[in-house]
Amino acid sequence: MKIARALLALAALSGCGPVQSTAYLMDAEVQIEAARTAQAERYAPYEWTSANLYYRKSKEEVGYADFEQAVDFAQKAQKFAVQARENAMKATRKEEAPKAP
């Protein structure tokens, strides 16, 4: 995260597309890993799928050197990953909560 922020700061200063998109992608990756830990694949499949699709597409756009799109998709990937993690955690809590008599 610290590296990502440093890269973001650097990118903001430099206005460099590759650096910026890489930073967002790293953030998205971190959030996706967090969602995975929360079992988002099982408990938040919609958000989990979206996050992964956007992440892959973002990387693809980097390959095409379309950094603007790459940043846009990386941000979306990150957003979905965060939602996936939150929803998964909620669902886990509900499942673990004792049922009313």
């Binding site: 919609y46 989990w48 799928t49 979206s50 699709l53 956007y54 379309d66 799109q69 846009d72 998709f73």
Partner: protein, 418 residues
């Protein structure tokens, strides 16, 4: 060259058609996505729905970038995904499950029939509203065992009714003696103010704060002055000796005296108040501390200036003779000066019975006049004197003896005003 141009225009034309087609397909997929969502795809086909939406987004992004071919690939992926999602969502609604003959309805419980804010699935009394602390069931209405109108849940004395006398009526407990003075309220004239039973439960006050309670204070609104004079009655005594001078100005507040002597008495009227008068019953000048001046031939008493020896006159005449007579007159004149309180004296001339009465009367008058003249000469104010001849009418001894006659022949200086 012509062939090359033709190829390029064909390629461009084909690309334009692809872009339009992609946009049209995108619109169809968009509506399919909405339909699938309505059918519950979010629940029954979340992955397919997500794939369709994401690919639609990608396609639109590619179209915006002018890469329709890549956009078309995403459209196809989206199309496949949304079709799958629609199929999976067809049978997505909640199901009713029947076990043997008893139908068991599986519902997602979100109802709150009694509207108490607790969902029916968590509500112990789903048809009766009640607070959460009671599991959604209504609280039992509190009773009022003693019937005093104060419900038992707030009544500190549930079995004893409140007396409702305006004193702490909220606690539900009766207070038979509100002021706790030992006099029950029924007999207490002042039930909310403590007071002794002898005052019917009312407090004994001391309105003027003089330390004498009102029941014994003859002047309850005027504070006693406590100056040692009739301090028990509670009334202030502003002029204890009633001499007309208020005590605060009176140097002798317990003894009446004139204002010129600051309210202090002067029994001998020598102008010196008794309290500083060494001889309060004998007039005397201040230099003698109020005691009579020690004269050799004269003594000033309360009512007269006594002379120890008699003034001598020539026989049958009013002429004063002898040095001793002059000394006596001189001391009398001095005594009058030393005692200004003596306002007036009467110089009395008396004779013995020798000779006829008229002569004696005239002689005595002449002799009294002669003495008065002599005193005037000695600077005594004539207004302080009068001369009266009594002749032989007021003997003080027997005229039968020579000694008695000598005593009767006399001059007296009686004080008649002071």
């Amino acid at each position: 060259m012509t062939r090359a141009l033709l190829f390029a225009s064909l390629l461009a034309a084909s690309a334009c058609v692809t872009g339009q087609q992609v946009r049209a397909k995108a619109e169809v997929i968009k509506s399919d996505i909405e339909r699938a969502r309505r059918s519950g795809a979010m629940r029954c086909a979340p992955r397919e729905l997500a794939t369709a939406e994401a690919n639609l987004d990608f396609a639109q992004g590619e179209l915006a970038e002018g890469t329709a071919a890549r956009g078309d690939e995403h459209i196809r992926d989206a199309e496949a995904a949304i079709k799958k999602a629609i199929v999976l969502s067809k049978d997505c609604g909640p199901k009713q499950v029947t076990i043997k003959d008893t139908p068991v309805v599986v519902k997602i419980e979100t109802t709150d029939k009694d509207g108490d804010g607790i969902l029916d699935k968590d509500d112990k009394c789903p048809n009766l509203p009640g607070p959460p602390e009671n599991g959604g069931c209504p609280l039992e209405a509190p009773k009022d065992k003693d019937g005093d109108g104060i419900l038992d849940n707030v009544d500190k004395c549930v079995d004893t009714p409140e007396d409702k006398d305006g004193w702490q009526d909220e606690d539900g407990c009766p207070e038979p003696d509100n002021d706790n003075d030992g006099v029950l309220d029924g007999a207490d004239k002042c039930p909310n103010e403590p007071g002794p039973i002898e005052n019917i439960g009312c407090p004994i006050r001391d309105r003027d704060g003089d330390g004498i309670n009102d029941d014994k204070d003859q002047c309850p609104n005027e504070a006693e002055d406590k100056d040692g004079f009739q301090d028990e009655d509670g009334c202030p005594d502003l002029d204890n000796d009633k001499d007309g001078l208020p005590d605060i100005q009176d140097e002798c507040p317990m003894e009446a005296g004139p204002a010129e002597l600051k309210g202090c008495p002067d029994r001998d009227k020598d102008g010196l108040p008794d309290k500083v008068d060494a001889c309060p019953d004998q007039p005397g000048p201040p230099e003698e501390k109020g005691c009579p001046k020690k004269y050799s031939l004269v003594v000033v008493t309360k009512d007269k200036i006594e002379i120890k020896k008699q003034i001598k006159f020539a026989t049958g005449s009013a002429k004063i003779v002898g040095a001793e007579s002059q000394t006596i007159l001189s001391e009398v004149s001095q005594a009058l000066r030393d005692n200004p309180q003596i306002k007036k004296i009467r110089i009395e001339g008396h004779t013995d019975s020798v000779g006829n009465d008229a002569f004696n009367l005239k002689l005595s008058q002449n002799r009294a006049n002669s003495v008065m003249s002599a005193l005037i000469k000695l600077n005594v104010d004539p207004g302080r004197m009068e001369a009266v001849g009594y002749g032989e009418t007021q003997p003080i001894a027997s005229n039968a003896t020579a000694a008695g006659k000598a005593e009767n022949r006399r001059t007296e200086f009686n004080i008649i005003e002071q």
